[in-house]
């Protein structure tokens, strides 16, 4: 690399002063810790002469009037300093950091603000803090970082997604916030594509001030800025890499072969059946979990080059990330390439171009997850008496249960790959019409090409298995009649699908700022936005792939007679949004700030009756600490904030307002499948957006010198919930491809308190400690549900079991409802003497509580069901600490979610399925236990949904812990490295929880009403990593 340092910047104009003592001044710039500051500007006041500090923090300005010159420094994040040269030729300058980052600029949507003047409740994060966590998805990295933002993991598999909930669940429809990357809409599903290393900052708008985004703002807005270069800085190269080993954090405690045989014998005997095992002395048998969980590698490489000339700044990045799954290795892996260019240039003195381009290529392989048929479900329920492979080295069949297959065979036979190519970018031109009036036009785009390929080889999992694709053990293909008399072999098949999605967004806005009488400032932003999204897709299945091999798995290799394709399908959609927005901010001094936001949105998602909506927000802040009368010494800075506003949520399927004939109306005439029509979703012309009214009161303060405290209290009421309730069967929406109408009904309220406390200090000038804790308390309650409906049933328990969750007035969204138990019936006498009649009860059965006091347990209706838990945590807490001493740095991040419950729904209640080890302590006779019921193959009510299946899901997790060492720059500089850091780190090293399942950090895969249900969740891995980062 470049060996010797040079002055990067030479002033454009220089004057030869005609009098005075001319000479050269030079020196170094450093911060209060003595660290060199690179890239800071030093200018001679009143001239254009200046310099930018180099890698050593060195600056030099020649030909100046040494006696009179005043040097002015500027560097973002640091206070501006003015120093008289006073004839010196060496002036070393120490810059002090801006405390509290009060003046740090943050993006707030079509403009910028500072923490000092912003009137809303938000949280600003520096990208570096998230990158340090080495978490591939930005949403997972955000967990525990910000109060009021709860992240839960939908799947721990590589490339798995998370649920982001800003200030609680406000609907049981789409709760995802609006995510904008450099102003470009980036939906949360596609967050896999974003490389955390490309991120400079994240600003989360939590309250009504997100209303500048109108009909899409109700779930909060996350503004992500990618890295930019700095002016007048030589190219700086940053390289970072880490690699790590992942492993399962936990194994479930299941029965071993001997225990299994004993329990199954007892179970069959209790059910009046012959016992299956004559000999129960079978040892430990197969540990299917050992066969499934493997150590897997994760690796990541990043390169960033950034810098700038006088008029242009640039930042270019590239990265490679690859993660194998702890279940299935390359069968469930995720690989990602990223490229990024961020370019800003002054086209003329008054015109600036900023251009962002992000490219991602990703590949994800996935195994069946979550629920019956998933690899982990099969693993948990496979019997330990069965070997993985039989004596002929063939996979064992697990014959006794038809829907449980050998999970090792299943992994081997699964080929499910998705590829995504994504192009996201922005071209923006800002033009200064006058000094105070800037006119910005930008064009944003987001294009994604998604390919899917699923290869299904001919497989045989054993007689009677529904997953068999072959006719028999010899893997003969089945035959199928595709038309009268035309039979074809149905050999190995491949499904291929390709879909494209493109967003095009044009935005145009003016920013005006106007000051009068020195202390009054009015800033105005006004603009329009036109957004259009299109998607289309095509897919089909081809048969008879040669050699039963993935090598030929392509539709082009279809050998089926007549090129027969099955399941061919296509889709297309379009949606549009037209918006106008206005924001007026008034500040008096810096003491009083007020802001008015109005946005008008028109959305093609709604019918002509309700197409346009207006969303206003008012907010204000008062800097109490700047008042003359303010005299609290301990609190250096005190700002009070207040906001109230209305925003919307339009996330429903397109054209839901009209009944479309896209249902499935298919019948067989003349033995041929004949396509008819049927109404798909019933229409509702009055459909409109969900409306959220949010009130927020908050305070920001700095206590003593080292504590920063932010407090918020909010009330968030969401009205007119958009949902598709289960409707009466009489409406006739239960046919294939038919759905109930989407209607506006129901209100939800979220009330909460958020606290963020940060502390930083320095011990003996050498040890830097900064630490922060944040906490969120949210009370979620359904306030109203549609007329005539008692509740909306949610997810089901077990196989064909009853409804276990509900949306019901007076309860949290998706709360658990079922029977409450009160121990076990110990004897027939106890049953006979019980004041409550429980049909079918025998000794050893769960004793249910008669909720309505009618003396009988009603299995017939809901009258004896009660609330058994909620998937929503009462409190979430985040804690982080950073300590540095000389070259060493240490950090830790913890996250805790407390007070939520989880439904244990991965136990297959089958005569031969394996069981959790708690069954060893089953009821076997009077007073043997009062916790676990008897086991039997016979009919019983112990398997209906009760609190027996609800567990406390609270947990505390050490998300990341790391120890780093930065080599002495004096040494590394000899090889042109300005900074070299090596570190070791661990993610998910420790989780404290009472929950029995693999992982308590469970999101939802089936919408808000399916939260907190564990179907055999793919757990997050524990990762031990080592990494290095170099700066040149």
């Amino acid at each position: 690399m470049i060996k010797r340092s040079l002055l990067v910047f030479i002033s454009l104009f220089y004057l030869i002063a005609s009098f005075g003592q001319n000479g050269t001044v030079s020196g170094t710039l450093s911060d209060s810790l003595g660290e060199k500051i690179i890239g800071a500007a030093v200018v001679v006041k009143g001239t254009n002469m200046g310099s930018i500090s180099d890698e050593n923090g060195f600056y030099k300005i020649a030909n100046i009037d040494l006696s009179n010159a005043i040097l002015v420094t500027s560097y973002s994040g640091y206070k501006t300093k003015q120093i008289k040269v006073n004839g010196r030729s060496t002036v070393n300058i120490i810059l002090s950091e801006i405390s509290n980052n009060l003046n740090q600029v943050m993006v707030v949507g079509y403009g910028t603000s500072t923490k000092k003047e912003f009137t809303g409740a938000n949280a600003n994060l520096i990208g570096e803090e998230l990158q340090k966590l080495n978490i591939p998805r930005i949403d997972q990295a955000l967990q525990g970082q910000i109060s009021g933002v709860n992240i839960s993991t939908n799947s721990g598999s590589p490339g798995g997604s998370s649920s982001i909930r800003i200030r609680g669940l406000s609907t049981f429809g789409d709760n995802d916030p609006l995510i904008l990357v450099d102003g470009v809409v980036y939906d949360s599903e596609g967050l896999n594509a974003l490389n955390p290393n490309d991120i400079e900052s994240i600003n989360v708008l939590k309250d009504a001030t997100a209303g500048i985004y109108g009909v899409r703002a109700a779930n909060g807005v996350i503004l992500i800025e990618t890295k930019k270069g700095r002016r007048n800085v030589k190219p700086r190269i940053e390289l970072s890499a880490y690699t790590g080993m992942q492993q399962a954090t936990k194994k479930l405690d299941l029965l071993n072969a001997r225990e299994y045989a004993v329990l199954k014998n007892e179970m069959h005997a209790n059910g009046g059946l012959d016992v299956p095992f004559q000999n129960t002395n079978l040892g430990t048998g197969t540990d299917w979990q050992d066969a499934i969980f493997q150590n897997a590698i994760v690796q990541n490489y990043n390169i960033t080059v950034s810098g700038g000339t006088e008029k242009t700044t640039y930042s270019v990045g590239g990265s490679y990330y690859s993660q194998d799954g702890i279940v299935g290795l390359d069968k469930s892996n995720f690989t990602r390439f990223n490229a990024r260019v961020n370019l800003n240039t002054e086209m003329s003195q008054r015109m600036r171009l900023s251009s962002v381009f992000l490219y991602t290529n990703e590949e994800r392989n996935a195994l069946p997850e979550n629920g019956i048929g998933s690899v982990l479900y099969n693993t948990i329920n496979a019997f330990p008496t069965e070997p993985i492979r039989d004596e002929n080295n063939n996979f064992s069949y697990l014959e006794e249960v038809s829907d449980i297959i050998n999970p090792v065979a299943q992994m081997q036979n699964t080929y499910n790959t998705a590829w995504v190519d994504k192009f996201v970018g922005k071209e923006e031109i800002a033009f200064d019409i006058t000094k105070n009036l800037t006119f910005t036009n930008r064009f944003n785009y987001n294009y994604a090409l998604v390919d899917n390929k699923v290869f299904s080889p001919l497989t045989w999992y054993g007689p009677g298995k529904s997953q068999n694709t072959a006719l028999n053990e010899q893997l003969d293909p089945t035959q199928v009649e595709i038309a009268p008399g035309i039979l074809i072999d149905r050999g190995a098949s491949v499904y291929e699908g390709r879909s494209t999605y493109s967003d095009i967004n044009f935005e145009s806005f003016i920013n005006h700022s106007f000051q009068f009488k020195k202390i009054h400032t009015i800033k105005t932003t006004a603009g329009v936005s036109i957004f259009s999204r299109n998607g289309k897709g095509l897919g089909g299945t081809a048969y008879n792939i040669p050699n039963n091999s993935i090598d030929y798995a392509d539709i082009s290799a279809n050998l089926a007679e007549g090129g027969f394709l099955n399941n061919t399908n296509s889709f297309q959609f379009q949606e549009r949004l037209v918006s106008g927005f206005l924001r007026a901010q008034y500040s008096m001094g810096s003491k009083y700030n007020g802001s008015l936001i109005v946005r008008r949105d028109g959305s093609s998602k709604f019918g002509p009756n309700n197409r346009f909506g207006i969303f206003p927000t008012l907010s204000g802040s008062w800097l109490l600490s700047e008042e003359d009368f303010y005299d609290i010494d301990r609190i250096k800075f005190l700002k009070l904030r207040l906001s109230y506003g209305i925003s919307g949520n339009d996330q429903i399927p397109n054209f839901a307002y009209r009944g479309l004939l896209n249902g499935e109306g298919v019948y067989v005439f003349n033995d041929i499948i004949t396509q008819g029509v049927a109404i798909g979703r019933a229409g509702n012309p009055d459909l409109k957006w969900e409306t959220t009214r949010q009130f927020n009161v908050g305070a920001d303060m700095k206590i003593f010198h080292s504590f920063d405290l932010t407090l918020n209290y909010f009330i968030k009421n969401t009205k007119d919930l958009l949902f598709q309730p289960d409707v009466s069967g009489v409406l006739g929406t239960a046919g294939a491809g038919s759905y109930p109408p989407i209607i506006n009904a129901g209100d939800v309220s979220n009330k909460g308190v958020e606290i963020e406390l940060m502390y930083s200090t320095k011990i003996r000038k050498k040890i830097n400690i900064s630490t922060g804790i944040n906490g969120t308390w949210i009370k979620n309650e359904v306030v109203k549900i549609p007329e005539g409906i008692e509740f909306i049933p949610g997810a089901a328990f077990g196989i064909g079991g009853g409804v276990a969750t509900r949306f019901e007035k007076g309860f949290p969204i998706g709360y658990f409802i079922g029977y409450q138990t009160d121990g076990i019936f110990q004897s027939q006498e106890e049953i006979d003497n019980s004041p409550v009649k429980q049909d079918g009860a025998v000794p050893g059965d769960l004793r249910f509580i008669d909720q309505n006091g009618d003396g009988i347990i009603s299995f017939n209706d809901n009258s004896d069901k009660t609330m058994l838990g909620t998937p929503i945590p009462k409190v979430t807490l985040g804690y982080n600490i950073n300590i540095s001493y000389e070259g060493f740095d240490f950090s830790a991040n913890l996250f805790a979610a407390l007070g939520q419950d989880i439904i244990r729904n991965y136990e297959r209640q089958q005569p031969y399925a394996n069981q959790l080890a708690y069954n060893i302590d089953r009821w076997t006779g009077t007073n043997s236990t009062n916790i676990n019921p008897r086991i039997t193959t016979g009919a019983n009510k112990n398997t209906i949904f009760s609190d027996f299946y609800v567990e406390d899901g609270s947990f505390l997790r050490l998300k990341n812990i790391q120890l780093g060492y930065t080599l002495n720059p004096k040494i590394t500089q000899h090889v042109s490295i300005s900074s070299a850091r090596i570190y070791i780190a661990a993610n998910n090293l420790l989780t404290l929880t009472k929950y029995q399942g693999f992982d308590p950090d469970i999101g939802s895969v089936g919408g808000a009403l399916a939260s907190g249900i564990d179907y055999g969740f793919y757990p997050q891995a524990r990762t031990i990593m080592a990494g290095i980062s170099l700066k040149f």
Binding site: E481, F573, Q574, G602, R658, L660, L731, A736
Partner: protein, 489 residues
Amino acid sequence: MTKKITSLFILIFIFPSIFSCKKFLDIDPLYTQDAENYFLTPLDYDRALTGAYDLLQSSFMTVWVGEIASDNSIAGGESVNDTEGLHEIDNMNHDAVNNELRSIFRWNYSGITRANYLLEFKDNIDFEGKDKIIAQARFLRAYYYFELVKYFGDVPLVIDKRIGADEVTKIDRTPKSEVYAQIEKDLIYAASILDWKNPTKGRITKGACLALLGKAYLYQNKFDAAAMTFDQIIDQNEYMLIDKYTDLFTVANEGHTETVFDIQYTGAEGGGYDCLICLEGNAAPGFQGIRQFEGPTYGDGNSYNLPTQNLYDAFNPSDLRRDASILDIEAFKNANPSVKYAEGGGGHTGYYNNKYIKKKAEIGLPDNDLTSPVNYHVIRYADVLLMAAEAHNRATSPDDAKATNYLNQVRKRAKMSEINASGNQLTEAIWAERRLELSGEGHRFFDLVRTGKAAQSIDGFVTGKHELFPIPQVEIDLAGGNWNQNKNY
């Protein structure tokens, strides 16, 4: 230069403003039709009719419930929790929380709604042949209502329109008699329009309309009307019993002369357990297949709906219908030593339903437990003869000669001796014959209820309660909670 740029920018700024927002937002869905702007061509009607036919395929559930609820079979399956609703029905301890009953309720109303959608727009355009489409739609509506009345008694009657979520909370259960009146009206109309023959396999014929009409009369004990209606079919000589009873239920023989009303299935489309209503195949044979079967002829299945010893013993050993209706799996294994199978934890009787059972030669696309191409023979001519016999025997002025003749036609085909009886003795003989002739086809429970014999035949059957199934509680809730539950549930 600056001026130029300024004006350019102002143009760009103004452009979106002059651009019509309303027009920009007023987009139509691509390549799909709108429910309110449909029925513009004859083809539109035809396609909507196909959509209404679609729900017939959900009747595989009746093959299960009609048998399992009766003394003919047990629920079976992998365990007692496997489709728990069927086990409860088997044990006569079913209640208002039952997924299978709910499916029956919803699926039949979906069929009604699709027929009503077409009928709502019946006057949109006129074209030749429209009356035939209307007639089929009305037949389908009648069939779906008949199913509902059979199961649930009084059900809300919605005619020629679709209703919304608000409206449903304002309507009550319609008395059974009124629903029957509408069923009769629809079927009489349909029978007057449709022809005896339709070249398209699967289309409703006049015979199907009359047979269902006669059956509806029979279920209301309107024996005179039933007898007259059935005679119309018999006298037409359109149908004929086929020679071999064993040939009745094979795909190869579908459309035989005994077919009065078949529900059509195909194996040419795959399917999954997550959406049984999406299937184009018949789910009953796979579910009723032999558990983990390996061997000739049959395919492996889920061991549902297993015939009881009681049914097996009801047959005279020389009755060739016994082995055609019931597969004795141990006997089959003895004859074919390669056979392997498993007993399900949901119960085992040693018998399988041999009419609707997965066979190697009749296998559909995966999951082939669900995609059997075997049609469900809802009404066969033998059933018509037996219903006619019963109607004549129980008519105001009985014609036992005719009744005996019809009964013996059925017995003769089974190579059974003729019966000569009259009065109550003949009634009993006809009912006994119905069980033997039609076992495994989903009729038994409803016949037992209809004839007042349920309590004596079904363990746990409570008179005054189990004649009807309970309205699913969730359906009562969703309809506003105002409906009364059926008695004693």
